[in-house]
Structures are given as C-alpha cells and as structure tokens.
Amino acid sequence: MATRAGRRLNRASGVIAASVLADSAIEHYRGSFHNKVMFAPLVSSALALAAGLHGAGDRRPAPHRARDTAYAAAALIGIVGTGFHLYNVGKKPGGLSFQNLFYSAPIGAPAALILSGMLGFLAERVRDNTPGTAPTIAGLPAGRVVAAGTAAGLLGTVAEAGLLHLRGAYHDPFMFLPVTVPPIAAALIGEAAIENARKPRGFTRWWLRLTVLLGFAGSGFHVLGVARNMGGWRNWRQNVLNGPPIPAPPSFTGLALAGLAALSLLEDRRR
C-alpha cells in the first residue's frame, strides 16, 4: 500500500520535473544561457524526471538512495533558483514592482522544481515504512503530510499562474480556470489534511482529477495561444518564446496526482 502510494508520488514528482525541464530549457534558451548556472535546473529536473520514471516502476518498498539524492538536489537547486530569480527582480530599477514581476525572471518557476523535489522526497519517505503498517512521515500520518504539501504547492502555483495571467490581462475567459479550479482543489485537499475524520471524499477525488486534466488542457490552450501570435506557429522561433509557456501548466497535473495519492493514503488508513 505504501509502495503503491510512493510510486504514485514518484510519478507526480516526475510530471512536475518534466514540466520544469521543458520550461526551463525554453526560457533559459531565451535568456541565451547568459549565466552558466542557468543549465543547473535542466540537469536537476532531468535527474528528478529520471528518478520519477525509475520510482514509478520500482515495486520494491524501500526508498532508493540515488532517487533521494536527485530529489534533494532538485529541492536545493529550486531554492537557490528562487533566490537567483528574486535577486534578478530586485536588482532591476523599481525592485518588486509589477513591471519586474511580470517581465523579469519568474519567481514561481524555480519553485516548481522545489515542489518536484518535495513530492519525490515524500515518495521516498512514504516508502520508508514497515510494510503492513499505516505509513507515517515524521510521526504524522503520511496521507495528511502529502495532502498538506499538495495544498501548499497548489496555492503557490496558482499565485504564479494568477500573476502571469494578470499580465495577460485575462484576455481569454479560459485564463480564469487556473485561478479557480486549483484553489478549490487546494481547499479540498487542505481540508483533508486538517480534518482527521475518516469520511469518503468522492468530490475531492473528482475535483483533483479535473485539476489533472486542467494541467494538460492548459498546455493545449497555450499551444493555441502561440498560434494566435503574429505569424503563428510558422514563426515559432519567436512565438514559442514570446507566447504563453506551453510546458508550464502540467505542474497542476503533477500536484493533483500527488493529491490523489494523498487521498488514497488517507482512505487506506480507514480500512
């Protein structure tokens, strides 16, 4: 049971890592890899993605040292990257103004790498339990810990999407979806983390599944967004960089998958 939840969390972490890998590759290519450190998230997210693929297929219950290392590195580089991006915004004239938050290095992007590392770390901690017992993390029921982490991650990602969609002036009504659907998912899974009552959470499960879909749909919308720029996809060398980031939305998918894993942990505990 713990192994199955662990594998699902490895997978959730891998989805976010894939999103970060593609997104940082595109955005840092746009930044001409001006600073060699800009390669770091590519390497780290690739390792986290490899760990996710390995973990998702690994039926052995025990945590894995290489995966743990990859996840810890992802979280660490995510933290350092957030610091770099904050510094980049702060040194621009105007500091933490909307202008700089919109157009300088996005603060939320490296945070996604932290989330991938965090979910992967939790995956390994869920595995790190005696088979047959209710899994715990640091003495707390694992389901509640993962649920809390998922809720926090969702809210952070919502903030990022909200900021950048505000920059886009919500010119398309569908741009409201990532600031309406995931916050509700965060509230539902957050409530599951706090509320210890063992009750069925069918609605929460369906809402998380909707959020899983939303992540993929977001990429689809962003593909259309690129097409709507002047020159469309034929001018992809400009528009993929200038248009909405295609790989970014599946971060929601990864977090919602983690939420579903948390729900299973919580529900399994009931039996």
Partner: protein, 213 residues
C-alpha cells in the same frame, strides 16, 4: 569604413518568417524609387545632390543610397513630420527656398552655382548656413540655421537610414513585422538579428550573420 556586422545582409530576411508580403512590398517600393526629380526642378536637383554629398558622404565602393530621390519623394508625396516650427514655411516651400538661397549665396561668394563649387567651398557654405551666417535676399523670413537644423539634417539623414544598405552598416534588422524581437535585454541577440563583430570574434559574427533570417 570598418565592417561591424561582417556578412550581414538584411535583405536575406526577405523570404523568411521575418518578412511577409506587406514587408516585401514596402521594401521593394523603397528600393524602386526613381533616381530622378519629380518634385524638384533640374537646377534644384543638382543643388540638392551637392548638399546631400556634403551632409552624408558615402563610400565609393558601393552604389550610393539615393538621398536626393528620397527627399524628392517625401516632398512629392507630402509626407509630413507631424509638426512645424512657426518660423519655418511648409516643407516643400522651405526646400525650394533654401536650395535657391544656397545657390544664390554660392554665386554671390564665388561666382558659381553651389553644385559647381569645390567640396571645401560647399562645406564652408553649409557651415555658415548652420551658424546662421547666410543672410541673402532669397532666404526671405526663413532663418538659414533653422533650415539647416530642421530640414536639411533630418530629411537627409532619415533618407539615409531608410535604406537597407544603411541598415547593414548599423546592424539594424529592418521592419519588425511580422517577426519582432524576444530578447530585449541589453546586449542580447535573437538569432534573426545581426551579429556584431567584437574584436577577435569577426569570424564568429560572420558565421552568425550567415544564418540571420
């Protein structure tokens, strides 16, 4: 002239995503501007040519940017600046009067038409115009220094930098439509922008410029 953008030819963008039918039509029309006067008289045209040579000298190893033709076009089509100094007549009147007055100054001072003077004498007259020292009858109420600063300089330099040959010299990408720019920060370059040759990196710049499009 040092080649700061070796191998860069903005016209290579013609059939890439950087340009579309509209861009091509605009550039074609500009390159096809007739090299003959349609607004100016033959005499004014000669004077204008000599003024252009003095203001914007061009290298001899390539066809010149047709500066008089572009000034002529601006006046014939009535392409206005959007503002006018109250002390100045409308642009077509200013140019006709200014060129006639310059010719008159040349005849008064040297006994020859402006275009027939040596380059040194022409430069000297242009310099005196810039300083406001020309006061012949033909200027009327138009201050010659204002004619210099607000007609001669802008109309001729704008004409120069409207031509792809000038864009190649300064590494300008031409019309940013349909393809604009992505990397806006200082000293960053999109792959479809001209590469500047920093000392010691001329070959690399040339290689990058071979792929501009």
């Amino acid at each position: 002239m040092t080649d700061r953008y070796p191998g860069y030819d903005v016209l290579a963008k013609r059939w890439t995503q950087s340009w579309n039918d509209q861009t091509r039509a605009v550039i074609d029309a500009r390159l096809a501007t007739p090299r003959e006067p349609r607004f100016f008289t033959a005499a004014e045209w000669l004077t204008l040519g000599a003024v252009c040579d003095g203001i914007m000298p061009q290298p001899r190893d390539r066809p010149p940017v047709p500066l008089p033709a572009y000034v002529d076009l601006k006046l014939r089509e009535g392409l206005l600046d959007g503002y006018r100094y109250a002390a100045m007549p409308p642009q077509d009147e200013a140019w006709r009067r200014g060129l006639a007055a310059l010719d008159e100054e040349a005849v008064t001072a040297h006994g020859e038409a402006f275009h027939a003077l040596s380059p040194e004498r022409r430069d000297s007259l242009l310099g005196r115009m810039q300083k406001g020292e020309l006061t012949g009858e033909a200027w009327g109420d138009m201050p010659c220094a204002m004619f210099f600063a607000h007609r001669v300089i802008p109309d001729i330099t704008h004409a120069y930098y409207a031509h792809p040959e000038a864009w190649n010299e300064i590494g300008f990408g031409g019309p940013a439509s349909p393809r604009g720019y992505v990397r806006m920060a200082l000293d960053r370059r999109d792959p479809w922008e001209a590469a500047e040759a920093k000392p010691g990196e001329e070959l690399r710049a040339r290689r990058d410029n071979d792929h501009v499009g």
